[in-house]
């Protein structure tokens, strides 16, 4: 779905969305790329600058709003989805974005993330997943791999990692996508699609923490390994990957398997990506390295589910149509009153 450009809008450039604050992430941090992609994507969204609100929790990624020349709120740890819900309910016309990290949105804020998704509030969430706590100087996070040695787990972590997109699908997410920080073009494109999606959009970004977890996504970011470790999804297209485009995915007995093209197997035999299939999307979230290429792009999209904010507005409208605009006097009087004249009582 695309919106016709509104000619009354000022024409923005990426720099119109940059605030006057110095960006203070570490040199080489993946957050820079995401900031740049967001600032580049916003001018094509055909929205007024004053209608954007960026909300974040706590962590390196959560500094994001300070660098955007829009309205913004750097809130408290884990609660960004709750703040964003309040903002959107108060003014559904606002274009609300959450940018925060894996510790923030999946650990301390896991509950709010689940609930904003199931309500399908019309906001966009960018999860900057670097699989580590950066701002507190390098403890393992809910997405860190099992056995990870960090300051808080000198002998290796004993936690199994959370699969963010599986959680998003299970929570009823209506727009589920993934990309990697170095792929600026894909980032920008996904943000535009997310913007047009009515409902909660969730984009997981593989983000490199240059200091505490450098190369966590190395396999997916390097030119030579990337074609083998990731697979680009395109709606309606066969699922092909590999440097030679020689491998594909098929479904057998309810499981996804890798096949080599040729030897009687053609593109037509492969799974064709259907971004409207929630069950399939869940299966896609289970494709993980080292056994499978990890899907990139839009895993799932349900454009028809109504949004929470519009339902809330509808209810208010219906209640007002049914009972008429509230009358304060009737409210104060309640079901029954009595009147006292002088010092006598009358019913």
């Amino acid at each position: 779905m695309t919106t016709a450009p509104d000619t009354s809008l000022p024409t923005y450039k990426a720099k119109d969305f940059a605030s006057d604050q110095d960006v203070r992430w570490c040199p080489g941090c993946g957050d820079y790329a995401v900031l740049k992609a967001v600032q580049k994507a916003l001018p094509s969204m055909h929205r007024k600058r004053e209608d954007f609100v960026f909300v974040s929790g706590i962590g390196c990624a959560a500094r994001f709003p300070y660098y955007m020349n829009t309205y913004g709120m750097h809130s408290i740890h884990g609660r960004a989805p709750a703040f964003a819900t309040g903002i959107k309910l108060a003014n559904p016309n606002l274009d609300v974005w959450i940018v925060s990290g894996d510790g923030d949105l999946l650990s301390i804020g896991g509950n709010h993330t689940i609930h904003v998704l199931r309500r399908n509030v019309d906001i966009n969430i960018i999860l900057l997943n670097n699989r580590i706590y950066g701002l507190t100087k390098g403890q393992y996070s809910p997405t860190s791999e099992f056995g990870k040695k960090t300051k808080s787990t000198p002998l290796g972590s004993l936690d199994f990692p959370l699969n963010p997109l599986a959680m998003v699908i299970a929570s009823g997410g209506t727009f589920v996508a993934r990309c990697i920080d170095i792929d600026l073009k894909a980032l920008e494109k996904l943000m535009l699609i997310a913007e047009h999606h009515r409902g909660t959009s969730f984009i997981e970004v593989y983000q490199d923490c240059n200091i505490f977890n450098h190369q966590a996504w190395f396999y997916a970011s390097q030119k030579d390994s990337r074609p083998e470790t990731t697979i680009e999804l395109e709606h309606g297209k066969p699922m092909i990957f590999g440097a030679e485009k020689d491998k594909g995915l098929v479904e057998r007995d309810g499981r996804i398997e890798i096949v080599e093209l040729g030897n009687g197997i053609s593109e037509a035999d492969l799974l064709h990506h259907d971004e409207t299939n929630r069950n399939r999307a869940y299966m896609l979230t289970q494709l993980l390295q080292p056994n499978f290429p990890e899907p990139m792009g839009v895993l799932f999209r349900d454009p028809d589910e109504p949004t929470y904010d519009s339902l809330v507005e509808d209810q208010v409208k219906q209640a007002t149509e049914k009972s008429g605009p509230g009358d304060l006097r009737t409210l104060i009087e309640g079901p029954s009153t009595w009147t006292v004249q002088g010092d006598a009582v009358s019913g």
Partner: protein, 633 residues
């Protein structure tokens, strides 16, 4: 004044005030029954004060003592402020209700029991010793006027030809009991009949309405004919100021007050809540006010509720959330953020007995220090506390008025006692309510650079409430310390101290717009009885009684806890003793001592109940007699 029924007079008696209590199983409909009696008494012009007392368990096993639900009501022809210390007439629907309530009945008081329920099984279920039946206990019989009525049987007989099932019929026992009480206290049946018809007919249950009305009438005629009582009692209408009145409980008055505040501010109200006793009702009431533009949001947890409210406030709604003590604890961090963001926000705390889960359905005033100091670091908020059910309306409007004036969160401290208790409310003149003026800037305050979100108004020190969607005022707020004026992140030590002092000073400056503390009684003298919040009824009644007994004692009630009224320090200087009764271990007392460096004597009870007037009178007299540490230096 309470009536005494020790000797039943031969003729009908005119009395001033009566306290009655309905007690039964939590499934027996005692709250409904008490509510009907209250409505009728209000309509015939009595002053009223109620105290619903229900168990935390929704449906505890039938017949057990922990499943007993009670509703106490005092009604009178004079001015009253409490539901009464002791009960003049108790209705006990089963042995458990008798067992748990008999101690509160005055000596010689009337006790009407449903004798059909005093079976062997039920007597043991509520823990009476083997072979003991209180109805056969001579000492009990001689201490009270026990009236045994086979209510179950009589209700069944009167509805035998209704064609309804036994279950429906048995549910009408409470109406039979109510009928007896209506006869005894000379009340009309008509208001209740109308309410019953309205209640059931709306759901298409005309037949149910019919049997309830029939049982009510049967009880009434039984009272008349059975000659169980030698006389009935008349309670003349009270003298009220002229005006239109209704009955109101605190939670409802709070909800109406906040909806009114939004109308006065020409704003939408946003309410976020998470279910918690005794505050859930606020969410229920407000959820029905959608046609007033009220948006309610049942959040996934207490933290989300306050955060959503802060988000809504940032986006320009009058935003609030409501909870009880445990919820306040969970909201503490977010409240600190609201202090830093300098946004208007109201947080209602309907206090209950704690700590932890404590006694959720019982009242307490022990969150005062939590309200003032529960947040990390120096994070002052405005604190107000309504003094009675009807006062909840006024203080709700005050809460928002102060919040938007100072751009600062407010904690509104109600409690379970006034939240559920009801009294007559003289309806306010809507036209005379002062509008709440709010301006959202539309022009930048810094044409040569970025917008300055923390630029302040000289008089109030408040910052502008610029809302998203306004062109040219784009700005970022957040939990990192703010540079004053610019709102930029700042680690400058001098700026931090400046901001800490400024956030406190904003609240202090509200003293210029909050009313002075009013004192009832002598302007100086023996003692000042100073309370706050929901204990006003008991303290006022006790003070009146003490003055009748010749004490030069004054009483005053604080509804503003931060800041205190400007004249509080002066008032405290004028009395030999300052006595502070609280349903906590002395929290206001500690504050007064710390702030004013004076001695303050506490009267402290934490029993999950408000003060009994008699206890308070005794305690105060004891203090007045003793010199130890009591006299101000």
């Amino acid at each position: 004044m309470s009536a005494t029924h020790t000797k039943m007079p031969a003729e009908d008696q005119q009395i001033d005030a009566v306290a009655i209590r309905f007690a039964g199983d939590s499934g027996d409909g005692m709250q409904l029954t008490g509510g009907f009696f209250t409505d009728t008494s209000a309509i015939v012009g009595n002053d009223i004060a109620t105290f619903p007392d229900f168990p935390a368990e929704i449906r505890a096993p039938r017949g057990t003592t922990y499943g007993v639900s009670g509703f106490q009501l005092q009604f009178s022809s004079s001015d009253i402020h409490t539901p009464g210390d002791s009960v003049n007439a108790l209705v006990a629907m089963n042995p458990a209700a008798l067992k748990t309530n008999i101690e509160d009945v005055e000596p010689g008081g009337i006790v009407i029991v449903n004798e059909d329920e005093f079976t062997e099984v039920n007597l043991r279920k509520c823990g009476y010793p083997d072979a003991y039946n209180p109805l056969e206990d001579d000492s009990l019989q001689s201490s009270y006027r026990i009236v045994q009525v086979p209510m179950s049987r009589l209700t069944r007989e009167s509805l035998a030809d209704s064609g309804m099932g036994a279950k429906n019929i048995d549910r009408c026992r409470n109406m039979f009991a109510l009928g007896i009480m209506y006869w005894l206290y000379d009340r009309p049946l008509e208001p209740t009949i109308q309410e019953l018809e309205k209640k059931f007919n709306a759901k298409g249950n005309e037949a149910v309405a019919e049997i309830n009305v029939k049982a009510l009438k049967a009880g009434y005629y039984f009272g008349e004919n059975a000659e169980l009582f030698p006389s009935r009692f008349h309670i003349a209408p009270a003298t009220f100021e002229p005006g239109t009145y209704r009955k109101i409980a605190g939670n409802e008055a709070t909800a109406i007050g906040f909806a009114t505040a939004a109308q006065l501010a020409k704003k939408r109200l946003f309410y976020a809540g998470y279910p918690i006793t005794p505050a859930s009702e606020l969410l229920h009431h407000l959820a029905r006010m959608k046609n007033f533009g009220v948006r309610t949001f049942q959040a996934e947890d207490e933290i989300a509720a306050v955060c959503a409210a802060i988000g809504a406030a940032f986006a320009g709604d009058l935003a609030m959330c409501g909870t009880s003590g445990p919820g306040i604890a969970l909201k503490a961090e977010a409240m600190g953020l609201a202090v830093m963001l300098e946004l208007p926000l109201v947080i209602v705390d309907v206090q209950r007995a704690g700590p932890a889960t404590g006694m959720p359905t019982k009242t307490e005033q022990a969150d005062l220090l939590q309200a003032l100091y529960c947040r990390p670091s120096e994070a002052p908020v405005i604190v107000v506390a309504p003094a009675s059910p009807a006062d909840c309306f006024t203080m709700a409007i005050e809460a928002f008025r102060l919040s938007v004036r100072a751009m600062c969160p407010v904690i509104y401290l109600s409690d379970g006692y006034i939240a559920n208790g009801a009294e007559p409310w003289k309806l306010p003149d809507i036209e005379s309510l002062e509008p709440i003026s709010i301006t959202h800037p539309t022009e930048t305050n810094n044409p040569d650079g970025p917008y300055l979100p923390y630029m302040r108004v000289e008089e109030t020190l408040s910052r502008p409430w610029a809302v998203p969607g306004t062109a040219g005022l784009e700005h970022r707020v957040g939990g990192l310390e703010k540079q004053d004026i610019t709102g930029e992140v700042s680690y400058d030590p001098a700026n931090h101290e400046h901001m800490v002092r400024l956030r406190a000073e904003k609240i202090e400056r509200l003293q210029s717009v909050i009313p002075p503390l009013e004192v009832v009684g002598p302007a100086s003298g023996e003692a000042l009885l100073l309370g706050w919040g929901g204990t006003q009824g008991s303290i006022t009644t006790a003070a009146n009684r003490l003055r009748e007994r010749g004490h030069k004692i004054a009483n005053a009630h604080l509804r503003y806890l931060n800041p205190f009224p400007k004249n509080l320090g002066d008032v405290l200087q004028r009395y030999d003793r300052i006595i502070v009764p609280e349903i906590n271990m002395g929290q206001l007392r500690m504050l007064l001592r710390a702030k004013f460096l004076i001695d303050v004597i506490g009267i402290n009870r934490v029993r999950g109940k408000s003060f009994l007037v008699n206890d308070l009178v005794d305690d105060v007299e004891r203090v007045l007699k003793s010199d130890k540490g009591a006299v101000k230096q």
